[in-house]
């Protein structure tokens, strides 16, 4: 790595004692010698293991659940179903007033994706829990499912989630989050070229070294200690408090040392049910995802479809950009309405474009709910935007890097969401990339600056 201190030296105070120093990490000796303690290192006396009974169907009505055979299985202590969960229908972002509650902790009457949790089996060993889970008899009436976002948005499509009432998230702005800036139609009318392209991604797994999980201990004083690898301690505690209808003062969360998150550990999935199980059995409970659960049950990065229509001039200026983004939330919201909205805030990318129209949709389908993942709302959008930039440059016969200089945002430029640009540094990054990659651009671009006089 090379630190190029010559850029922005006029606005930076160097020469501090500790900041800017490559100090060795205090925790790395523990990590590399295997001495660091993670939540799963808590092996508590009498600890039970929780395994989920999961839906084999993408969409089905549950006619009945029979747990009697499973309960008789050697080593089984208890089997939990929806009726055991105090506040079974929840949504995690209710804490920041983003509703409605749309997801069940344990399925109640219906399953909406293949893998959805239906019943929780608690047993003395993991093996007994797994074997007994296979003995829970669920009578399903299979329903038509929808997997394609376009199909889901058509009239008459199977309804994925009754708590929404339609297959998209309803924002206060309507069926999508909108950004309107300038006059996009006028921009297209004046453009020398118009290019409309569609980009698509598929769900992606976080693939952390340590799978999602927790260990819960009843403390004997009506309090429960939850050792967890959540990325957000109080967010998880407060959601657990709502789901369990238990005052937050009864809950004690311990964590903070995690074997990789990447956004995969901000859903509140394992903790509430494990705490409930500890409460109802009076025993410590361990609930840890298998690698298969981590890959196919825990939320992935959402698949996205991005349609970009640009109007560009022969001289390289983009004069209009219309973006329609679709985020595949799967069956439940989790963090996807937030992600789709973050996309609306991010488009049209780090470029100054006078006419912009953005619609971002959060769409429900019968698949594993997607949620947070490193850069969500932006990562796939950047793939689409930057491939589109390459196509536009080639369309007008311009060098792709020079084309970006022409459109790059600079201090003071008004963004589509009506905030003036501050602290821009895109131009300097491109100048340095031009040098480092031996990708020469015209001198006038190398002389540009993100600074603007008076800005």
């Amino acid at each position: 790595m090379e630190l190029r201190k010559d850029y922005f030296a006029d606005v930076r105070k160097d020469g501090l004692h500790e900041i800017g120093q490559p100090r060795p990490r205090l925790d790395s000796p523990g990590h590399v010698t295997g001495k660091t303690a993670y939540f799963a290192d808590r092996i508590l006396p009498g600890m039970l293991h929780l395994k989920m009974v999961r839906s084999p169907h993408h969409h089905a009505r549950i006619r009945s659940i029979d747990t009697s055979e499973a309960e008789k299985h050697p080593g089984v202590v208890k089997v939990l179903t929806a009726k055991d969960v105090p506040h079974n229908v929840y949504t995690i972002l209710i804490l920041i007033q983003i509703g409605p509650e749309d997801e069940t902790v344990l399925a109640d009457g219906k399953v909406r994706w293949k893998g959805e949790a239906v019943a929780a089996v608690l047993a003395e060993t993991e093996r007994a829990a797994q074997e007994a889970a296979a003995k829970v008899k669920v009578d399903y009436e299979v329903l038509p499912a929808v997997f394609d976002m376009e199909e889901a948005l058509k009239p008459g499509a199977p309804l994925v989630n009754e708590y929404h009432g339609q297959n998209y998230y309803l924002y206060d702005s309507g069926e999508c989050r909108k950004v309107r800036f300038g006059d996009v139609d006028a921009g297209f009318a004046e453009a020398d070229h118009i290019l409309e392209q569609t980009y698509q991604s598929s769900p992606i797994e976080h693939a952390p070294t340590e799978t999602t999980g927790c260990v819960v201990a009843p403390e004997g004083n009506d309090r429960f200690t939850c050792y967890t690898n959540t990325q957000a301690m109080f967010f998880t505690l407060d959601n657990a408090s709502i789901i369990l209808q238990m005052p937050g003062s009864k809950l004690h969360f311990v964590g903070g040392t995690v074997g990789g998150g990447f956004g995969g550990k901000v859903d509140v999935i394992v903790e509430p049910i494990a705490i409930l199980a500890a409460k109802l059995t009076g025993r410590p409970v361990s609930f840890i995802y298998s690698r298969e659960e981590e890959m196919q049950i825990s939320s992935p990065r959402a698949a996205e479809k991005v349609v970009i229509k640009d109007g560009v001039m022969k001289d390289g200026r983009i004069v209009a950009r219309k973006v329609t983004g679709y985020t595949d939330a799967g069956a439940y919201s989790r963090h996807s309405p937030y992600g789709a909205q973050k996309g609306a805030a991010h488009y049209p990318g780090p470029y100054t474009i006078p006419n912009v129209w953005i619609d971002t949709y959060c769409v429900y389908t019968n698949r594993t709910p997607s949620s947070a993942m490193r850069g969500f709302g932006v990562t796939i959008g950047d793939f689409a935007l930057e491939v589109q930039m390459d196509k536009l440059a080639r369309l007008i016969g311009m060098d792709p890097l020079e084309f970006r200089f022409i459109n790059a945002y600079r201090d003071g430029d008004m963004k589509a969401h009506r905030q003036p640009t501050e602290g821009a540094a895109l131009i300097e990054c491109m100048q340095e990339a031009s040098r480092a990659a031996n990708w020469p651009v015209a001198d006038k671009y190398m002389a540009m600056s993100s600074y603007r006089k008076g800005a």
Binding site: M1, E2, R4, K5, F8, V11, R12, H17, E18, I19, P22, R23, R25, L26, M149, S173, R177, K178, F181, Y199, S202, P203, I204, E205, A232, M233, F234, F235, V254, G255, G256, T257, V258, R291, M295, Q296, A303, Y338, Q341, A345, P350, T368, V378, T379, I380, D382, F383, L385, E386, V387, D390, P400, L401, Y409, H417, G423, L426, C429, E432, A437
Partner: protein, 334 residues
């Protein structure tokens, strides 16, 4: 049939912190009797090194070496609230809270030192080595060790401080989308060079040159580890990863690391990292959040390089050999 070479570029920006703000984090700082400093938080270290960075931020602010700071985090019985570690917010939000708490503690520390040295607190400075000196007269000094002992056992002062950082929440205007998503943005530009085998569709990423502008590299070694890891993840997203290879069809999803494709060490490109620092107005020592953005620009850069190499556009991720071969076949068919 041939191995064809191409290169592509991408440039991006990325907001620091939760979109639209409204994501608070608090910190508490106190001194032990012998002048070590305890930072109490509920922020989570995901392996990226959050604890280390908070220790350096506290140490710089108080004026002691980093090894005199202890981080006690993620116990909800003791640590004040933090929204969580996500959205590239940890260093920015928690760092600002730690600075505020450490400044308050430092002020008490200097007041106690001033009483011991019989000078005004405003005439004192720290040397970063654990001593408090009179400005312009460094021979007149006292160690922070002695100041802490005095505060505890003689003066009855608590060398402690509280810190809180909150960007007020912005609510998007319904019709226009006017809003304030973030207070600062990190930037990047990546150039990727690839080879594509037009017989097998296989892509080899030869090199990735990344320029990242991150506000301030608080610990350059740790910045490097995060940026290099992110760059690899970007390549992985571009060429390998998905839980649903035939999306929107749900079949054939990988369930372990044999089936779920990711690059191995031999698949990783020569990776170059160059860091620029334009300090943000509201970041701790100017830092922005590079955690998420560092994995983004490689994806389009690789996609553009594939086009440069073989002349077909793969607009669906991941860019698999199957997709490249199908596109080449369609191109040949005319």
């Amino acid at each position: 049939m041939a191995i064809r070479r191409g290169r592509g570029v991408a440039a991006i920006n990325y907001p620091t912190g939760m979109n639209l703000g409204g994501d608070p984090t608090q910190a508490l700082v106190h001194s032990t009797p012998t002048g070590n400093f305890m930072v109490t938080l509920s922020s989570v270290d995901l392996g990226q090194g959050m604890k280390q960075i908070m220790a350096q931020i506290c140490a710089e602010t108080i004026g002691v070496p980093t090894d005199r700071v202890i981080i006690d985090t993620a116990d909800t019985d003791t640590g004040p609230h933090c929204m969580g570690t996500f959205a590239s917010r940890g260093t920015h939000r928690a760092g600002n809270a730690v600075i505020q708490a450490a400044k308050e503690a430092r002020q008490v520390m200097l007041e106690v030192a001033a009483e011991e040295l019989e000078v005004n607190a405003s005439d004192l400075e720290t040397d970063g080595q654990g001593n408090i000196l009179v400005k312009g007269a460094p021979q007149k000094s006292i160690s922070i060790f002695d100041v802490a002992l005095s505060a505890h056992f003689k003066r009855g002062r608590s060398i402690s401080g509280r810190g809180m950082f909150l960007i007020p929440r912005s609510y998007p205007e319904k019709e226009t989308g006017a809003m304030k998503p973030s207070t600062c943005y990190a930037h990047a530009c990546t150039v990727a060079e690839v080879e594509v085998d037009d017989e097998t569709g296989e892509v080899t990423v030869l090199s990735v040159k990344n320029v990242f502008e991150i506000g301030r590299a608080l610990n350059p070694k740790m910045v490097e580890q995060q940026l290099v890891g992110g760059s690899w993840m970007g390549i992985s997203h571009a060429l390998y990863e998905t839980t649903e290879p035939y999306y929107p069809n749900r079949d054939h999803g990988g369930t372990d690391f044999n089936q779920y494709l990711m690059p191995g060490p031999g698949d990783l490109a020569e990776t170059e990292i160059i860091v620029l620092e334009r300090p943000s107005a509201d970041g701790p020592f100017g830092a922005k959040g590079p955690g998420e953005m560092c994995a983004n620009p490689q994806i389009p850069a690789v996609a553009n390089a594939v086009f440069d190499a073989v002349g077909v556009r793969i607009d669906t991720l991941p860019i698999t050999p199957e997709r490249i071969l199908r596109a080449l076949k369609a191109q040949a068919a005319g």
